[in-house]
């Protein structure tokens, strides 16, 4: 096995190996592993110092920005306040300058007094408490050796913690299906924990849990889930949240679910490293590594075969689990729970039936509608076209995407004013909000913000624009970006160096009362018959097309674009009518670019700007028609990519693309190029028959051949999903008849010469 190691980010320090309770379900003392009997009662200072040294080394060698350390036991508070204080000081001193340290202690709570809490407050140590529910549930197992209840002491400890909310990490409840799930949930919820963990009692196939019904644990948890859901999910329940997250492609919050690689290591009181604590339930010595802090660094531990075995994700599971439809949430359950003598850990969890039932129930109860693409729309799009309904289907999903992105930015503190106004408008003036959010560059701005490269304060500008469109009164501070106060879909104020300005809106009128000299540049529109698109030359987020955007156009320049656009649209409608309905439904914005210094044409579409096409002033209307058709292909396919997986994102193949000769292209880019050049070929197929278009024959011959070859590459790539393969087959069906259309020998020879030259240029660029 030669696999990259996963650094540890979670460290469990066993600071004391004994406990003042004698819970009969405890995995440390009551299960197979009895190594606690051979260990020191408490972690010595020297051992603790070595542990800190090893963790610090590991943080440095792996460049870790954030680690979690849990002080655990036994009962860690038995180590005493002074010893714990020394350890915590050592941890803070050794790690605080290297990384962010999340430091916690898990305790049974019996000894948690104000003096311990003062210590934890001083060093920012959060506290989790084990409590199995109401008195009856808790006392079923959690008793002293003489049989006394621990309940009252633990409740008093939790009450102390509630008075120090900064320290209160949550409650951990081990399930016993003999307990009343509603009573347990209500008892825990009444303590207002910031988080609750429900833990399946540790068990294996050799030592299965008590099971009064085939899915007793699922049934118990489902009853809790229903109550939790019905009461508004008042507190996070880590198991339920993990199932919800993993069901939507996210990561699990707990080691007992999900497919994430294990990144946890235990350091025992004697300084030995152990694997997952829960492995104690499997067999005597199961968690052992044979390594210790005095002689081995943590990079060595990370390469231990037992550690690696818990990092294999789907590949580390048995066939039954791999074929299971909920494996992405379940992840095979806790590793220890899979153990059976003979087959080791290559089994489903002993709780497999429970996990399947619970996950399936939660998924069914929380199902929400998703977007879908009609098969006829996929057929139309894969053929290279797409009518009004087809493009509206893609545009509908773009609206979802923009709303989700906006909600992401809205969570930012500096976006609060804009978010408050926008959410109010969204409730009563949804059309106005949607009209603004449909502006192509809103998504580009939101993406920049989420990449920490944009100003969330611009959300106020978006909200202001929506208020203006809705005719609602508003008074808020908007933000200047690149020297302009832009209001998407309306235009921009040019107001000198001011970074922020108060905007007042009422009845659709608006002004910057504190900047009376501000010059307003309204958004202009290009029209052609009943088609109208924005001529966007002020939006500060339009610089996402890979070419320099024009500044504000003069009236004469805008008039020139109007003439060119009207004539280009006439050409599209008359000569290329298959593209007109899609453009009519989806093209909302034309963004002028500066003319390229090297001459010729320039145009672009941007993945985050659905509906926008950027173009430099074209030589003639036919060129603009070609650029619009070409770039809108990218717009369409980008929107398909947003919704559906046509290729494997992990595919690493690179392919020659004659239209981008500087370097081989990844599969996504090749798909985009093929889709665009399918339309380019189609354009020249028609155009070559028009008088005065000399190069048409050559262009047609060139691009049909090059596109066909690129389709071959796609089909052979091994990187397409089944849906992607179907999409590419659709493109081929459109192209194939064109390969038989006659072209002159001279045009064919010129096309072959160009193709050869392109290949040579590409080879030269790579050498």
């Amino acid at each position: 096995m030669n696999l990259p190691t996963v650094p540890f980010r979670q460290f469990v320090l066993k600071v004391h190996s004994r406990c003042d309770l004698a819970c009969d379900h405890c995995y440390v003392y009551e299960h197979a592993d009895q190594s606690w009997r051979r260990r020191p009662v408490v972690m010595a200072d020297e051992t603790a110092a070595w542990a800190v040294t090893r963790i610090a080394e590991h943080v440095k060698s792996n460049g870790l920005a954030h680690v979690h350390i849990v002080l655990h036991g036994g009962e860690p508070l038995l180590a005493g306040r002074e010893r714990l204080g020394r350890l915590i000081t050592e941890l803070r001193g050794g790690l605080d300058g290297l990384c962010t340290l999340d430091l916690r202690v898990h305790t049974n709570g019996t000894l948690l007094d104000e003096r311990f809490l003062d210590l934890f407050e001083e060093h920012d140590v959060k506290v989790g408490v084990s409590l199995d529910g109401d008195r009856a549930a808790n006392d079923r197992h959690r008793r002293y050796a003489d049989g006394r209840s621990s309940y009252d002491r633990v409740i008093r400890a939790v009450e102390r913690l509630r008075r120090r909310p900064r320290l209160y990490a949550g409650l951990l409840c081990t399930i016993d299906v003999a307990n009343d799930p509603r009573a347990v949930y209500r008892a825990l919820a009444a303590l207002e924990p910031p988080q609750v963990d429900f833990l399946l009692p540790h068990a294996t196939w050799d030592s299965p849990p008590p099971r009064p019904a085939p899915t007793a644990y699922a049934d118990w948890l489902i009853e809790v889930f229903e109550l939790w859901d019905a009461e508004g999910r008042r507190m996070p329940v880590r198991m339920f949240e993990s199932i919800l997250r993993t069901s939507r492609g996210g990561t699990s919050l707990t080691e007992s679910l999900g497919l994430e690689p294990a990144d946890l290591v235990v350091i025992e009181t004697d300084g030995t490293y152990e694997q997952a604590d829960s492995l104690k339930v499997a067999y005597d010595g199961a968690p052992a590594t044979g390594l210790d802090v005095f002689h081995h660094d943590l990079d060595t531990v990370a390469r231990h075969t037992g550690v690696l075995a818990r990092q294999q994700g789907l590949g580390g599971l048995c066939d039954t689990c791999r074929a299971c439809p909920v494996v992405d949430s379940c992840g095979g359950g806790l590793y220890a729970h899979r153990y059976r003598t003979g087959s080791g850990f290559a089994n489903p969890s002993v709780y497999s039936a429970d996990l399947f039932t619970l996950i399936t129930h939660i998924r069914r109860r929380t199902a929400m509608p998703t977007h879908s693409v009609p098969a006829v729309t996929m057929d139309a799009l894969s053929a290279g076209y797409g009518g009004e309904e087809d493009i509206r289907c893609l545009a509908a999903a773009q609206r979802t995407i923009r709303r989700a992105l906006l909600a992401g930015v809205g969570a930012h503190a500096s976006a609060t004013a804009g978010w408050d106004l926008l959410t109010r408008l969204d409730a009563d003036h949804r059309d106005a909000v949607d009209a603004v959010l449909d502006h192509p560059y809103v998504r580009e701005w939101a993406v920049r913000c989420l990449r920490q490269d944009g100003d969330p304060g611009y959300l106020a500008n978006i909200a202001a624009a929506a208020a203006v469109r809705a005719g609602v009164a508003a008074d808020l501070v908007i933000t200047a970006v690149d020297g302009v106060f832009h209001l998407p879909t309306l235009g921009a104020f040019e107001a000198g160096p001011a970074a922020a300005a108060r905007l007042v809106a009422e009845d659709g009128r608006f002004s910057l009362p504190d900047l009376p000299g501000a010059v307003w540049h309204p958004l202009r529109r290009l029209t052609a018959g009943d088609l109208s698109v924005a001529l966007e030359d002020t939006d500060p987020h339009r610089h996402c097309h890979g070419h320099p955007a024009s500044g504000r156009l003069t009236e004469a320049q805008a008039a020139g674009w109007q003439r060119m656009f009207a004539e280009a649209w006439a050409i599209i409608e008359s000569d290329h009518p298959a593209y007109a309905p899609g453009l009519r439904a989806g093209l909302t914005t034309l963004m002028p670019l500066d003319p390229p210094e090297e001459g010729g044409s320039a145009s672009s579409a941007a993945r985050n700007a659905f509906g926008a096409v950027a173009a430099a002033p074209p030589a003639d209307p036919a060129t603009l028609a070609l650029l619009l058709i070409h770039e809108f292909q990218h717009v369409k396919l980008g929107a398909v990519f947003d919704l559906l997986d046509l290729y494997d994102p992990a595919h690493t193949g690179r392919y020659y693309a004659p239209w981008r000769r500087e370097s081989p292209r990844p599969i996504e880019a090749l798909l985009q190029g093929v889709y665009a050049h399918l339309a380019v070929t189609d354009f020249w197929r028609v155009r070559r028959h028009r008088s005065g278009d000399g190069p048409g024959d050559v262009q047609f011959a060139l691009w049909r051949e090059q596109t066909a070859r690129a389709i071959d590459d796609l089909e052979r790539s091994g990187g397409l999903t089944p849906l992607g393969a179907r999409f590419v087959a659709g493109m081929r069906r459109t192209l194939e008849p064109w390969l038989d259309e006659p072209v002159s020998g001279r045009a064919a020879a010129a096309a072959a010469e160009l193709a050869e030259r392109y290949r040579a240029e590409s080879a030269a660029a790579r050498s």
């Binding site: 979670q10 469990v12 995995y27 979690h68 849990v70 655990h72 036991g73 009962e75 999340d102 898990h106 084990s130 990490a169 951990l172 409840c173 988080q195 963990d197 833990l199 919800l244 997250r245 939507r248 492609g249 996210g250 990561t251 699990s252 919050l253 707990t254 080691e255 007992s256 994430e260 946890l264 829960s278 929400m368 509608p369 998703t370 977007h371 879908s372 009609p374 098969a375 509908a396 999903a397 979802t400 709303r403 989700a404 906006l406 909600a407 992401g408 926008l422 959410t423 969204d426 409730a427 993406v447 989420l450 990449r451 947003d642 919704l643 559906l644 997986d645 994102p649 999903t721 849906l723």
Partner: protein
Amino acid sequence: MNITDEKQSEVPSNVRDLRDVPLSDVSDLDRESIIRRLLPETPVERVPVARFNSSI
């Protein structure tokens, strides 16, 4: 994450339809799910606490 199944007449996506969800009600889960799909490199989903959760 891959959704390549096809029903008879529809190709389903795993992108939740949020058009009718008020902006103020867009859940963290749905928001993060979409952001993760579009911007897989964006750290929208940090696990805030240790995943370890053994009781004592």
